[in-house]
């Protein structure tokens, strides 16, 4: 009798322990499967990020645009290689059209959202790529649009009778925008700066599909744009330092003052402006327009990118010609406008570094500008001004 009961008890214990162990191991196995799926999805997503990184930092990934395998014109317009770098619109174009990426679903979180990675750096493009149930959130830093102002002693204009004075960036890390701010930049800013009052009034003037220089903002709006990005409006002193040829790059403590007239050389008797002044019949060629995008260039070679003209020794563009540029001038406040632009002829006296006119920053009529002796004599609507920003990193 006791033996029979014992038999049943042993059977029940064995069956129970078997089921219990089985359930435990089943749970373990399910967890292992989940861990494995997550791991595989993570690795797969990372492999996509490596492609996206190449597109972001190099632009035309695997020459897809050059070989016409992808057409991104409806996203970016026609752009040169340099402006394809760090371009969110190009990234979206590749995500939608590139064979290796089009299977990937994605969502954009914002161009200027700041606090995803505990940084108040509003120069990021944020979006998410998705695979299975897993998401990889990505923040792409817009590192292509700024360049470093080398640490050295620079010559600057002076506010006294002295012809020049000195300043140095030896203990500072200053980054300057390479290009003037674009329509796309202003469009994304207006959509992001929630405290800014004039968004509705300004937004129709700027397209998210245009990477041309943004024109038409007032000085206080330009200031707001820069400060929203944690930057400052570029100063005349810093523009001069970043554009005037220093002569010897390696000597960062020059003994003698250098304020070159041109970005391409410290010598004054070289370059297209000098040549044109010397010989008024000289024909303006494309190469000259790449150095100074002047009025003649605007009429003759419209296909040229004025945004990528006139590079300087530090890697900033548009330092002569192209568009007029508003600057903060902390030394001579009545010289706040880089007048050299497509409204002046190649031989114009304005086509020299450090020569500046005045704009009151409030209105785009002729009375707001003071070109002194060298008035452009253009229609009022041609008086348009661009801008760029700088920031310091500690």
């Amino acid at each position: 009798m006791v033996r029979t009961y014992l038999k049943y008890i042993v059977m029940i214990i064995m069956l129970g322990s078997g089921l219990g162990s089985g359930y435990y191991l089943y749970e373990q196995s399910a967890e292992e499967n989940e861990v494995n799926t997550r791991f595989v999805s993570t690795q797969e997503l990372i492999s996509y990020v490596k492609i996206l990184k190449s597109i972001w930092l190099e632009g035309d990934y695997n020459n897809q645009l050059l070989n016409k395998k992808i057409n991104c014109q409806k996203y970016t317009g026609i752009l040169s290689d340099k402006k394809l770098k760090c371009n969110p619109k190009l990234l979206i174009c590749f995500l939608e059209n590139h064979d290796g990426l089009s299977e990937l679903s994605y969502s954009i979180e914002g161009h200027l959202a700041a606090n995803r990675f505990k940084e108040l750096d509003k120069n990021n493009f944020l979006f998410t790529i998705k695979k299975n149930i897993y998401n990889l959130r990505l923040s792409f830093k817009n590192s292509c649009r700024e360049t470093f102002l080398p640490k050295r002693i620079y010559t600057m204009e002076d506010s006294t009778e002295r012809k020049y004075s000195w300043w140095d960036s030896l203990n500072r890390s200053i980054f300057i925008d390479k290009y003037l701010v674009t329509n796309f930049d202003v469009y994304t800013w207006l959509n992001s700066d929630q405290d800014f009052k004039a968004t509705e009034e300004l937004l129709p003037n700027y397209s998210e599909h245009s990477f041309d220089t943004a024109l038409g903002l007032r000085a206080d709006e330009m200031q707001r744009y820069c400060q929203f990005h944690g930057k400052q409006l570029l100063t005349a002193t810093y523009l001069d330092s970043a554009s005037m040829h220093p002569g010897d790059y390696k000597n960062n403590k020059p003994k003698y003052p250098i304020r070159s007239k041109w970005p391409w050389s410290r010598k004054s008797k070289v370059g297209p402006v000098y040549e044109k002044r010397k010989n008024s019949k000289l024909e303006i060629k494309k190469e000259m327009c790449q150095q100074v995008y002047s009025k003649e260039c605007h009429e003759k070679y419209r296909e040229l990118s004025k945004e990528l003209s006139s590079p300087s020794w530090t890697g900033i563009f548009q330092v002569l010609g192209s568009e007029m540029e508003y600057l903060e001038n902390h030394v001579q406040f009545k010289k706040n406008l880089k007048a050299s632009s497509r409204i002046f002829l190649m031989a114009s006296p304005w086509n020299e570094l450090g020569k500046r006119a005045f704009w009151d920053g409030t209105y785009y009529g002729p009375r707001s500008f003071n070109f002194r002796l060298h008035d452009p004599k253009v229609e009022p609507e041609q008086l348009q001004v661009g801008f760029r920003c700088y920031r310091e990193i500690f």
């Binding site: 089985g22 861990v35 606090n115 030896l170």
Partner: protein, 318 residues
């Protein structure tokens, strides 16, 4: 009735065999911890244990904290993981144990917490994390990547964790044409894993300063400050300025460190701080001593018609 026992044994066998682990403990550890660790943006390192190139052997039978890994969790909140290693005794090789623990505070107090994953029975452990790509004994160690090397059952294994958000260089050295991205693996691109259904609720950053703040209205916020002896009296927080920041010339003897304010740089205007000229340039212009805050000081420059003057702690333009 006589078939009942064999049937039960068979059921148990089927249950066990169908649920047997598909992957090894090492692979499970790696797969579980990989998605958590790769979002690491900062590392608490101990030079005693990192890049030793010889197995860790002291102190035996004791848990040591190899590294603290500051990562981002699924909701972009800071999350710290601690990698612990129990150093094996020479006489008993099975004692070595590697484990990853999550903490809300510091790694020091977390040794007894439940690990996220662990591996037992390991020995000859070494970890590597380098600032630059490094070759040691014909092995390549990529920068900003955590390598965990060990032996288990006499087999050598290396677990590789690229730390995608981590930049080892605390202070970048910029040169001509340098860009401003951090020196992380993906060159300025940062990542964080999450599951699709999780709503993103980031912590708002406490920003400093308002657009309308000005020096004249005495409402500009200081974001970095030093005392007369150049000792830092308020830590650098200018990365939290809502509308940018700028340097001014302070009333101290600091050559390389300047007082910083959040907001618009209106230097050079009347009543505003003077623009910083820089120490070397100021010396060229006749700076009398390291403290540049005095009347007519060349440590700063002003707009036309104005001169510099010391306004208590700041060189201003009058």
């Amino acid at each position: 009735m006589k078939y009942v026992f064999p049937v039960i044994i068979l059921i148990n066998f089927i249950l066990f065999s169908s649920c047997i682990r598909g992957i090894s403990k090492i692979d499970y550890f790696y797969q579980k911890t990989f998605p958590l660790i790769i979002s690491t943006y900062n590392v608490d390192k101990s030079e005693l244990y990192l890049n030793t190139h010889s197995p860790l052997s002291r102190p035996p039978s004791t848990f040591i904290n190899l590294v603290g890994l500051h990562s981002l969790d699924e909701n972009f909140k800071k999350k710290t993981y601690c990698l612990f290693y129990k150093v094996p005794q020479k006489s008993n090789k099975s004692l070595g144990r590697l484990q990853l623990i999550s903490t809300k505070k510091s790694c020091q107090n977390e040794i007894n917490s439940k690990p996220i994953a662990f591996i037992n029975g390991i020995q000859e452990l070494m970890i590597h994390l380098n600032d630059e790509d490094t070759i040691v004994e014909r092995k390549m160690f990529f920068k900003n990547t955590l390598y965990i090397e060990f032996k288990k059952d006499e087999e050598s294994r290396t677990l590789v964790f690229p730390l995608y958000n981590y930049s080892s260089k605390k202070k970048e050295t910029f040169k001509r044409f340098s860009t401003s991205f951090n020196d992380n693996i993906l060159k300025g691109i940062k990542i964080s894993m999450t599951t699709r259904d999780l709503e993103l609720i980031p912590d708002p950053i406490k920003t400093i300063g308002e657009y309308s703040d000005t020096y004249l209205n005495h409402n500009l916020k200081i974001c970095h400050n030093f005392d007369k002896r150049c000792k830092e009296i308020s830590k650098y927080s200018c990365n939290k300025c809502k509308f940018g920041w700028f340097n001014v010339v302070g009333n101290n003897n600091c050559k390389n460190t300047t007082l910083k304010y959040c907001g618009r740089n209106r230097c050079g205007e009347k009543g505003m701080p003077a623009c910083v000229r820089g120490h070397e340039a100021a010396l060229k212009m006749g700076l009398e001593n390291n403290n540049g805050c005095y009347e007519y000081s060349p440590a700063g420059y002003c707009n036309v018609g104005l001169r510099t003057s010391c306004d208590g702690n700041v060189l201003i333009c009058l």
